[in-house]
Each structure stands twice: as structure tokens, then as C-alpha cells.
């Protein structure tokens, strides 16, 4: 199996206006991920991982690191592959197709990119190699109970005290929290709860006194948790990026998180279509395969069209992920999230519907894809949130 490291970062061609094909390296990355996951992360193996005490396979996680998937978008200097969003989605899509529960999105995208983009040399050195190799898990803790997906709504506070910081507050819905070695926590160093200025990001070790994680199983098979921060004392060097200016980075992180999540969803949608085409071609009712009914055929076509449109939106958002104009980047991300979100729901619902009774059973993987895609619909805010964000960004432009 080819690790992406064997390909020079410089050799990768950038997609240009009329070049929508992947480079050879990008294709190899995707194919390798597909191949490994099909062989080593089958539905039964996956269910065993989900049912285990910790709910995650450190062994698989390290393999992901070895293959270079966890550092695919991290700098080569820190053990990464030096790629970008286009490479990230080559890995994320097969992970969705294989129902991977390990925190690729939470740690390898959100956590790692926070440090890669805003970390000091010391922070990068401390975290990135471990994140790239699969030794560490670092997740983003930014949402709170009443924040919804208004990123500026941060009530947790950090006070500058005796040359360091004291953090207090609650974070909820933190993906991968029970597995985390550390958290990137958004807290207010100034301003009122809604203000755009005054938000800062902090690196918080999971074992720091005052940090308490209330973890739970999530319906997609992964784990998440609420974070209680009770006067957590941090050093001066815990600050990530510029004090009070964290919102810009947060917005950037969420936008790339959205793109990765969309790729994951696309993987799940594609798997559902494949399985549904197969099932309807064999399942008989009224003495014929149900795929011989025109209504079923057109439903499959609607699923197919939804997936193709989703792939187009994903590509569009990936190509805008590093756009210098933040509004253009966010508009692209919101367009993808809104458009793919509605389609993911449709594809998931129809896959269950066309599988009939067996689609309703826990034994089959269909329902697990259904739940994963439902989670996707709400991740980083639902379609309606992003439609409105998209409209607001146009109005502001």
C-alpha cells in the first residue's frame, strides 16, 4: 500500500479552472484509504470497536497515522504530508463510507489545524508530530449550551492572572471529548457574550486540574462529551494565536471542518446508494425485483442526482477552503453544508425506505449510515442555519 508520503508535495497539481481531475497522488491516497478500510474496517470489526470499553481503536488510529492520513494537511516539518483540503477529502470520504468512528474530523482536522494555523513553534512541536502519528488526540471545544452555531456566542471566560490564565465555563457537544489528550477551548478574555472581539483560544491538557469531561456515546457510534472547566489554571503559553482575535480562526476551522464533514457524508451517501441499488435488484415483491418498478428506479435516480450534486458542492467548497476572502470561503462552506445536508437527509431516508423492514434493523449497516448522516445534518449547524449564513454573507458583500 502506498503511503502518501512517498509522493512529493510539490508534485501535486493544483486544480485549475478546467481541471477537475485528481492528481495521481490524490487518487492513490483515496484508493489506499478505501482499500485498507474495506479490508480492515469492515462492519463487524467496526461494531466491535463501537462496543468496546473506550469505543475507539487506538490500533487503527496509529495505522491511520502511519499511512499519513492524520497528517495529510499538516506541514512536512512536523511529520505531515503538506497537503490541503483536496487531500483531506480524499481521506474523509472513504472514512464516511466505512463508518469510521475514530476522531478524524474532531482531531486530525479541527484540532490539528488549529495548531497548524495558529500555534507557536513550541505548540506545533509539542502537538503536531503526535497528532500526525496517531499518538495524540486533540479536539476543539467551542460550542456551549445556548450558542447554537453562532460562533461569537462564547460565555466561558479566561482571566489573565499571575502571568497565566484561569479558565471557567462549560462547553457542550464536544466531539471526541472522552478520547482527547487535549482541548482547544474558546473562551472570552474580553467583551460581552455576543461580541466578535474578545474571544481567545487556549490549549488545555485533558488532565489539567479543574477539567472535567462528562462523556457519552453518540448515536452514530462515536463518543462526545460536555466539558466542565472549573477555575482551570493555565500557563501564559496556553494561549493559541492572538488574544481576543480567536473568532477569525474559529470561523476558518469550522469552514474546513464543514468541508471534511461533507466529504465524510458523501462517502456514506455513496455507500447507501450502492447498497440500495444492489438490494432493490434482488429483493422481490409481487414476484419481481422491486428495482423493476419505475417508481423505485426514479427514486434511485433521485438519490444518484443528489449525490452528484453533493459531490459538485463539495468540490466547490474544497477549492474555496483557502480563499483569501473569508466571506467567499464561508459562503462556499455554507453552500456545501446547506446543500449537502438536505441531500444527505433525503438519501438516508430513502435508503431506509427502499430497504423496507430490513432497513429498520440494527443488524444491517443501513441504519448506521442513516444515523451518521443525521448527525452530519446537525454538525456545525443545520441546513437552515447555513442557508441564512449564506444569505447574510451575500447581503454583507
Amino acid at each position: 500500500m502506498c503511503s502518501p508520503r512517498c509522493c512529493s508535495a510539490a508534485a501535486r497539481a493544483k486544480a485549475n479552472a478546467m481541471n477537475f481531475d485528481l492528481s495521481e497522488e490524490q487518487k492513490m491516497l483515496r484508493d489506499a484509504a478505501q482499500k485498507f478500510l474495506r479490508a480492515e474496517y469492515g462492519f463487524d470489526a467496526r461494531n466491535r470497536i463501537v462496543a468496546s470499553e473506550t469505543g475507539m481503536s487506538r490500533e487503527h488510529w496509529r495505522r491511520f497515522g502511519e499511512f499519513g492520513w492524520l497528517g495529510v494537511a499538516l506541514p512536512e516539518a512536523h511529520g505531515g504530508f503538506g497537503g490541503g483540503m483536496v487531500e483531506t477529502i480524499q481521506v474523509a470520504e472513504p472514512m464516511g463510507a466505512a463508518l469510521v468512528v475514530e476522531p478524524y474530523l474532531a482531531s486530525a482536522v479541527l484540532g490539528a489545524q488549529a495548531v497548524a494555523r495558529a500555534g507557536s513553534p513550541a505548540q506545533q512541536a509539542a502537538w503536531l508530530p503526535g497528532l500526525a502519528s496517531g499518538k495524540l488526540v486533540l479536539v476543539l471545544a467551542h460550542t456551549e449550551d445556548d450558542s447554537g452555531h453562532q460562533l461569537a456566542h462564547v460565555a466561558a471566560r479566561a482571566a489573565a492572572e499571575r502571568g497565566g490564565w484561569v479558565l471557567s465555563g462549560r462547553k457542550s457537544g464536544v466531539l471526541g471529548a472522552p478520547w482527547a489528550d487535549g482541548f482547544v477551548v474558546a473562551a472570552r478574555t474580553a467583551g460581552a457574550v455576543h461580541e466578535r472581539r474578545g474571544i481567545s483560544l487556549f490549549m488545555v491538557g485533558a488532565k489539567t486540574p479543574g477539567v472535567q469531561v462528562a462523556g457519552y456515546r453518540v448515536y452514530d457510534g462515536s463518543r462526545a462529551g460536555d466539558l466542565l472547566l472549573d477555575a482551570v489554571v493555565l500557563g501564559r503559553d496556553a494561549l493559541l494565536g492572538v488574544e481576543g482575535e480567536g473568532l477569525g480562526l474559529l470561523e476558518q476551522l469550522i469552514d474546513i471542518g464543514i468541508v471534511a464533514a461533507c466529504a465524510d457524508a458523501l462517502g456514506a451517501m455513496g455507500a447507501l446508494l450502492r447498497k440500495t441499488v444492489e438490494y432493490t435488484g434482488t429483493r422481490k415483491q409481487f414476484d419481481v425485483p422491486i428495482a423493476s418498478f419505475q417508481v423505485i428506479q426514479h427514486r434511485l435516480v433521485d438519490m444518484f442526482a443528489a449525490i452528484e450534486a453533493s459531490r459538485s458542492l463539495l468540490l466547490m467548497a474544497a477549492l474555496h477552503a483557502e480563499h483569501p476572502d473569508a466571506a467567499a470561503r464561508s459562503r462556499a462552506a455554507s453552500a456545501a453544508k446547506a446543500g449537502i445536508g438536505e441531500r444527505a437527509r433525503f438519501v438516508a431516508q430513502q435508503a431506509v425506505q427502499l430497504h423496507g423492514g430490513v432497513g429498520m434493523t440494527e443488524e444491517l449497516d443501513i441504519g448506521h449510515y442513516f444515523r451518521r448522516l443525521t448527525l452530519f445534518c446537525h454538525l456545525f449547524g443545520g441546513s437552515d442555519h447555513h442557508l441564512q449564513r449564506f444569505a447574510a454573507l451575500r447581503a454583507a458583500a
Binding site: T143, D145, D146, S147, G148, H149, Q150, A152, H153, S172, G173, V193, H194, A214, Y216, R217, V218, Y219, A224, K284, Q285, F286, D287, F293, V295, I296, R345, Q349, V352, Q353, G356, G357, G359, M360, T361, E362, E363, I366, G367, H368, F370, R371, T374, L375, C377, H378, G382, D384, H385, L387, Q388
Partner: protein
């Protein structure tokens, strides 16, 4: 139709409301609101309480213990019961088997079973679907072969809700393999403790165990357990559809759920603002409520037509597609309002008692609504036949 309730109806409404307020156990109310599954003993206790009040078999005639209400009163009762977040608490025995026995059963069958259903002494499950026969019910294969004064039953029933709790099953079996598929089907009552019956759990995508597969191997059933004539099973199954009609639309449950959604949207906050002030949420809630109004008045129209003696037609298919669409829309809205509050999965501790803790389970299970009982696609085939002049089947 509140505009037309007369003074007596309004008094009745107050009585029902007060009773449910005083008598619904808080734990049942919580489970009803959050969508958590009830346990068998909870259901039985609740049904017996309703029966003690004379309010369990509300659709049965007075001679069999029904309250003898007008349709208006039954409508008021359903609304108030649902609005109080009291569980629907109706068993398959009450809704389905009761009316069948009244119409097709022998005097002995009625005398024996009806009081036991009413007092919740028996728990009935329904054996219709089979592994190979989903929406194509007529192709069922479970065979009942005459063996002396008994039937010997062999086959398997699928998606049997609460079979693991049941003491009895009413089921469709094949008593003749020749002729038109529908004509060889009979309606049989089987005690679940008979030798040769095995119940295997099916866990559904809400993570719950309510469904089962029931295997029947050389199960000996006395002929007195046959309801109606041999070969009359298909007609009985069709007759049942007309008796399910009031419940098929699920108007009262939907109204209660919508009220809960409004309360939840007022409580949940996004960016510190109540979600109900979000423009998109308001539009969706409004649209769902209008769909529900259309459903309610369609239900009224069908009830009125049936009451006026019109032959039951494909309206039940229309009500089912409309009703399930509304139910699924509401459960989608529920999960959208809950969002990450619904992430914890089947948690029973702190995370399991929240308002939204089981929204995802409910949303998952709601997908069955357009699959079971004749899929949405099959209902539309029935309606198409009617529209294109093939008549109802």
C-alpha cells in the same frame, strides 16, 4: 371544530382534562414527551387504570364495555389524552382484535376473549408480515394444515411488535395453496405458550427491542381458534383497515407533538436567542401545522363519510400517506430542534433524562411509518387504481 362544541361537550372536555391531569403518572408523561419506550408493566398498569375509569375501549360498543360516546366525544377524548402527554395505551387487542371478534367471532370467542382484552389479562400481538411477504402481504407462506381437530402451523412471522411480551397472537395463515392467493388465507388465534413457538428479538435502528421474528414449527392449534371461515382471512384483514381508520391518521398525537415542539423551540436557544424566533424554524413550524390542519380536516371528512354509511374505500390509503408524512415531518423537526442535545444515545443516566434524550430514537423509529402496514409506495398504487377506474381493491 372547537367552534361548534356544545355546552355538554365542553363539560365533557373539562372532565377528561381534569382526570388526565390528576391521574397521568409523571414518569409516563416524561416518557411520552421525550419518546422513551414504555415497559410492559407500565403499559398494563396504565391500561387497567383507564379501564377502571371506563375509558380504555373507547371505540367498542356499550354492550362490550365501551363508553358509548359520539364521534365528537371520542375526538375530544383523544385530543385531551394526547395533550396531557398521557400514553396512547391502546393495545392491538383493543384496536384490532376486538372489532374483528365482534364482527366475525363466535359467541364463545367473544365471551372468552373480549373481557380479557378489556382487563389486559391477555397481551395480543399481530402475525401478518413474513420474511418474504412485506407489502405484498398476499404472498404469505405460513401454513396451517388440518390434522384431526387441529391445525398444524409451520412458518415464520416477521416484524411482530411486542411478541416477546405477548400471551397470544392473531395471525394470517395459509389454509389453501390453490386458487387466488388471497382466497387461501385464514385468520387464526394462537397462544404464545404453545410448543413449537420461538421468538427471536429484532433490534431496530432506534436501538430498541420491540420487534421480533416468530418461528412456528409444528405448532398445534385447535380449530376453535379459527376466526370466521377458512379462507376468510383476507376479508377480515381488509375489514380491520376500516376500523383502524380513526387511529391511522394519528391527529391527536401529532397535535400534542406539535405543541411540544413549540415549547421546545421556545426553550432552546441559538446565539442566545430562542429558536422559535429563527425565521426558518418559524416557517417550518407553520408549514407543519398547516399540514396537520389539512390532515385533521381530511380525517373529519372521512369519518363523516363513513358515518354517513359510505362504503369504506381507498380513503384509508390517503389518510395513511398524509398521516405518516405529517408524523415524519414532525419527528424531523423534533430532531432539528434537539440537534446536539439528542446526540447521547440510549443513555439512561444524567444524559438519558433530558427533554431531548430520546428524540433520535423517535426519529429513527418514525421511518417505519411509511414501510409497515403497506408501504407508501403500495398505498399510492392502491390510490392510482382508484383514480384510473380500477376501483378499490
Amino acid at each position: 371544530m372547537d367552534i361548534d362544541f356544545d355546552a355538554e361537550d365542553l363539560a365533557f372536555q373539562r372532565e377528561v382534562r381534569a382526570w388526565f391531569e390528576a391521574n397521568t403518572p409523571p414518569e409516563l408523561r416524561r416518557k411520552t414527551i421525550t419518546g422513551e419506550m414504555l415497559q410492559k408493566d407500565e403499559i398494563v398498569r396504565w391500561q387497567r387504570r383507564l379501564d377502571a375509569q371506563g375509558w380504555l375501549v373507547t371505540g367498542w360498543p356499550q354492550e362490550h364495555g365501551g363508553p358509548g360516546w359520539t364521534p365528537t366525544r371520542r375526538y375530544i377524548f383523544d385530543l385531551e389524552r394526547a395533550a396531557a402527554s398521557a400514553p396512547i395505551g391502546l393495545s392491538m387487542g383493543v384496536i384490532m382484535l376486538g372489532p374483528v371478534l365482534m364482527a366475525f367471532g363466535t359467541p364463545e370467542q367473544r365471551a372468552h376473549y373480549l373481557p380479557r382484552i378489556r382487563r389486559c389479562e391477555d397481551w395480543w400481538c399481530q402475525g401478518y408480515s413474513e420474511p418474504g411477504a412485506g407489502s405484498d402481504l398476499a404472498s404469505l407462506k405460513t401454513a396451517a394444515v388440518t390434522d384431526g381437530g387441529d391445525y398444524l402451523v409451520n412458518g415464520s412471522k416477521m416484524w411482530t411488535t411486542y411478541a416477546h411480551w405477548a400471551t397470544h397472537m392473531f395471525c394470517l395463515v395459509r389454509t389453501a395453496a390453490t386458487g387466488k392467493k388471497q382466497e387461501g388465507i385464514s385468520f387464526l388465534l394462537i397462544e404464545m405458550d404453545r410448543a413449537g413457538i420461538e421468538v427471536r428479538p429484532i433490534v431496530s435502528i432506534d436501538g430498541e427491542h420491540s420487534l421480533n421474528q416468530v418461528f412456528l414449527t409444528d405448532v398445534r392449534v385447535p380449530k376453535k381458534n379459527l376466526v370466521g371461515r377458512e379462507g376468510q382471512g383476507w376479508d377480515i384483514a381488509k375489514y380491520l383497515l376500516t376500523h383502524e381508520r380513526t387511529s391511522i391518521a394519528g391527529v391527536a398525537e401529532c397535535k400534542a407533538l406539535l405543541a411540544n415542539l413549540h415549547a421546545a423551540a421556545a426553550e432552546r436557544r441559538s446565539g442566545g436567542r430562542p429558536l422559535v424566533e429563527d425565521a426558518a424554524m418559524r416557517l417550518k413550524l407553520a408549514r407543519a401545522e398547516i399540514e396537520l390542519m389539512a390532515l385533521e380536516y381530511t380525517n373529519f371528512r372521512v369519518l363523516a363519510a363513513t358515518a354517513a354509511g359510505k362504503a369504506p374505500g381507498p380513503e384509508s390509503s390517503l389518510l395513511k400517506t398524509m398521516g405518516t408524512a405529517v408524523q415524519q415531518t414532525l419527528s424531523e423537526l423534533d430532531i432539528d430542534i434537539a440537534a446536539e442535545k439528542a446526540w447521547p444515545w440510549r443513555e439512561r443516566g444524567e444524559f438519558g433524562r433530558g427533554r431531548y434524550a430520546h428524540a433520535m430514537e423517535r426519529y429513527c423509529y418514525s421511518r417505519a411509518a411509511t414501510i409497515y402496514g403497506g408501504s407508501d409506495e403500495v398505498q399510492k398504487n392502491v390510490l392510482a387504481k382508484m383514480l384510473l377506474g380500477g376501483g378499490a381493491r
